[in-house]
Symmetry: C2
């Protein structure tokens, strides 16, 4: 079976027409412009930009964000951080609670290689964190996660936040650095005004936590939060010292459909390339992409640049397309670009992302943290 190797999805120098499908394609001009746009926004307001790597799981992306001025990255899981640390990222916030002996041991090892910060929302989890770090003789910064309305993780009261900060002060190998106040739900509010009002409310709640902690003697150097949807409001709030958007560099169907006002122009840079494998009727076509190359929890993908052609369903390995106008149906073998509805889990389905510019493949980057959810 020595001949049976998998062909590469693409090679640098290839025409984009020769990229095998399904393939995740990144238009580098738009990607770079999006990165500059968000970096400029952060600098305008004097806040740190700490892009979230869960969106892309690709160290090559993070290295470019840091080269443009980002102050580090976020990861959502401890294993996810490993390829980024290996690639040389030196400042990583695990923007999440870390529970479990294996995870704490790995975090402690990571903390010997990079500046690590982690969220806590429970005294037992904090005690276990300190003990694991002590066993490995490493240290992390700790953020108390506060719930500003998401109803996910995070403490529910000022008293709990202060108690955790007090506990940090008493424990070895952990240092209190501030709070994380993230509200995922409001990132996706379609209306600009509703999103702005929700972000302002979140910032007010975060500010009240900062004040309560300060009154108890705990200075919040870091107030972090904000995703792509609210970053512009959070950066301007005077409360957040840092924003952690991820999707902004790529954009997806969900974010692309929102009202953005004129605060920030972000372009679709990420596409899922597919091939038409069946044209059973004049009104229908089937693409070779499906639930194993993108996801449907935020809706169906959109066909880019093709009027009158709609995605009507996504099966495991098939995307159903309906031509709403005569002549809109693509031909057998034709290649189409879809805009994934949700970029984060889409990246997590691909081993590589194909960077293209002016119709040529410029780079093929490993999605090195794909699947690293522990």
């Amino acid at each position: 079976m020595s001949e049976l190797r998998l062909p590469p999805v693409a090679r640098p120098g290839d025409s984009v027409n020769d990229v095998d499908t399904p393939a995740l394609v990144l238009e580098l001009d738009a990607f770079e412009e999006n990165m500059r746009t968000m970096q400029a926004l952060a600098e305008l307001h004097g806040v740190s930009l700490r892009p979230h790597a869960k969106a892309h799981k690709c160290p090559e992306v993070s290295l470019r964000q840091i080269a443009l001025g980002a102050d580090g990255i976020c990861c959502q899981k401890v294993t996810e951080a490993v390829p980024f640390a290996r690639a040389g990222v030196k400042d990583i916030l695990i923007a999440n609670e870390v529970v479990g002996a294996q995870k704490l041991a790995l975090l402690a090892r990571l903390a010997a290689e990079a500046r690590m910060t982690v969220c806590v929302d429970h005294p037992e989890a904090l005690a276990a964190l300190s003990a694991a770090l002590d066993a490995h003789q490493s240290c992390v910064d700790v953020l108390v996660e506060v719930d500003i309305g998401q109803k996910r993780c995070g403490v529910q009261s000022h008293a709990e936040a202060v108690a955790l900060a007090d506990q940090v002060a008493r424990l070895p190998n952990v240092r209190f650095a501030g709070i994380q106040a993230y509200h995922g739900g409001i990132q996706h509010k379609h209306s600009f005004e509703q999103r702005q009002r929700a972000a302002e409310k979140g910032a007010r709640l975060a500010a009240q936590y900062v004040k309560a902690l300060q009154q108890a003697g705990h200075v919040c150097e870091v107030v972090t939060g904000g995703g792509t949807g609210t970053a512009a409001f959070d950066a301007a709030s005077g409360v957040f010292t840092e924003v952690q958007p991820g999707s902004y560099a790529f954009m997806d169907g969900d974010y692309g459909a929102m009202e953005w006002g004129d605060l920030m122009v972000l372009r679709h840079a990420l596409f899922l390339l597919g091939t038409v494998i069946s044209v059973p009727t004049p009104e229908r076509a089937v693409l070779d992409v499906g639930l194993k190359s993108t996801t449907a929890e935020s809706g169906l993908p959109r066909v880019a640049g093709r009027d009158g052609l709609r995605c009507t369903g996504l099966n495991d390995e098939h995307c159903l397309l309906a031509a709403d106008e005569a002549g809109a149906r693509p031909a057998l073998g034709e290649r189409l670009r879809l805009i994934p509805a949700h970029c984060d889990p889409t990246f997590n389905l691909h081993d590589e992302v194909v960077g293209v510019r002016n119709g040529k493949v410029e780079a093929v980057w490993p999605v090195a943290a794909r699947g690293l959810s522990r």
Copy 2:
């Protein structure tokens, strides 16, 4: 960074309590019983069982199905077949249309190593297939895919089916073997009776295709189709010579919620193991699993074996749980088993599946075809 290796998800001999999370856990007793149940059903009716490997993407699973009597496997994509061929599977149906030069070249190389069969529904695709095989001096069996109501791929008329079979007869390196008549939608009809009636209608339509082809001089050795939901009806139909279920070995939330009558008893064998990372209120808990370890297009996962505890949302790396009864909320650090709503895309998110028996890890199998969607 030499120290920074990822810890294994589990090791054979470990207690299931030491498996890191998120982890895909397969209860081997239930898995083996499900495999025997479907094999016995196929043998009872004298049809071939060709389990679909897209459900699990794990060669170790296919080898066990073949050892129990399965006549080969299905794959949905050409790259997906590669790890199975490497593992020694000698008879593979690509139960799908194959379009594109890279894919045809790989199929031709596979056909030198295993008996390969592939579906066609278009004369241009068939001509390209024959030409690619000719260039590599290999041969495949061809099934004409016929649409029995799914409105996905497949020819729309007897005339088209006959024309394709005629074309196969004229072309080199391809041999006409029969038809594929698969209807994915009816697999998931909840009502036993509605599913039975829909399967019977599908079998009648398939039989009409077989008759039309026979009248044109083309013998259908193979009439293949049927998934987990209709396999019992299709096997008994007298029309199908082969069934291609995949999920039956594992079961999932969607299939588990259906009416099964007493034709076949299939047990939940596949679970997603998670750890409670946050307990912000007495009514809420958060698990460390999310859209990167399971999927939501068929609904939310269910909590196994825990009354009064419900999954209310799935974010990228968080699963939100609501306790509907006092005392039902799990403790911080507690480990829970979820039943994924849809097993196929869930397997595709994991690099390994952890086989357990009586609370012990017996094997850790690579999901070797994970991500192979080209």
